[in-house]
């Protein structure tokens, strides 16, 4: 996966954060990247078409709750885990569709799997992200890691 692709993914993610979740994401440099959360939520989905791979997000439960609260028009404390996970999945789904469109246009057909969310500790996240094209955003004080995989 080229550097151009991860740059495109970064631009798409920031735009979808703003348009879909009404959240502002600040790209971080390697030196200033946030630490991997000790207890994270990891969302992944596969895309199969002219390109084949996995798009993933890793973040905190607090981020997912804030996103769901924005989308549902509630306070973060009024959102349950199921709703927060659903918001993260839909955000990933929309981001994946927009990313593939930016790369390939309207011609190719892609099969997209249903997104899944699982809990992950820091060691599991490190293993999943090691050597993968990735970037980190600071989203209103919460870390959001975005990565590509096989």
């Amino acid at each position: 996966m080229s550097t151009d692709n991860i740059t495109t993914l970064g631009e798409v993610t920031v735009e979808i954060l703003e348009r879909f979740a009404f959240m502002l994401g600040d790209p971080t440099e390697e030196k200033t990247a946030p630490a991997l959360p000790a207890a994270a939520w990891m969302a992944t989905m596969q895309f199969i078409g002219p390109r084949r791979g996995t798009l993933g997000l890793a973040t905190t439960a607090a981020f997912a709750h804030s996103m769901a609260a924005n989308l549902f028009g509630r306070e973060p404390g009024e959102v349950n885990d199921e709703e927060a996970a659903d918001a993260l999945k839909e955000f990933l789904n929309v981001t994946c569709g927009d990313y593939l469109h930016e790369l390939e246009g309207n011609e190719p057909i892609y099969d997209l799997s249903a997104p899944v969310v699982v809990p992950a500790d820091r060691a599991a996240l490190q293993a999943r992200l090691a050597g993968r094209p990735q970037f980190a955003l600071n989203v209103e004080g919460q870390p959001l890691f975005v990565f590509l995989g096989d």
Binding site: I16, A68, L71, F72, E83, D86, V94, G97, D98, E107
Partner: protein
């Protein structure tokens, strides 16, 4: 008075986003119904009159394409406009949906302006 609108998507987030975007758009709404898949939508359409349907494609139980096919086979639902809202933008998929009877295709995330323009394109002003 306003429109009765049905939103069909397996994601609560997507349904809520579309419903809130409709409210913001200024479209006159009487009732906004929600269904989690095509089968739930068909069940609801047997009980309630709906002016327009916004549906996703990829859903469990019954997907959006099958929902449209079933609606087009049903006398009372034949003329109800169905607008697909999805992340899938391939031209081939859009052609397949149009052939099945989908009136228009919007990509997520939709904007209030897109939704309002779509409702106005397919419906007469609400009584």
């Amino acid at each position: 008075m306003g429109y009765n609108i049905l939103i069909v998507d397996d994601s609560l987030t997507a349904r809520t986003f579309i419903a809130r975007t409709l409210e913001i758009s200024g479209v006159e709404l009487q009732q906004v119904y929600q269904a989690r898949n095509g089968q739930e939508a068909l069940d609801l359409l047997q009980r309630e009159w709906v002016d327009i349907v916004f549906a996703d494609i990829n859903m469990p139980v019954m997907n959006g394409l099958e929902l449209v096919r079933r609606m087009r086979e049903t006398e009372l639902l034949k003329a109800v406009p169905v607008i697909v809202i999805s992340t899938d933008r391939s031209a081939q998929r859009m052609n397949e949906l149009k052939a099945a009877g989908v009136q228009a295709y919007l990509t997520k995330p939709i904007t209030p302006e897109e939704l309002k323009a779509t409702v106005e394109r397919f419906l007469q002003p609400a009584a």
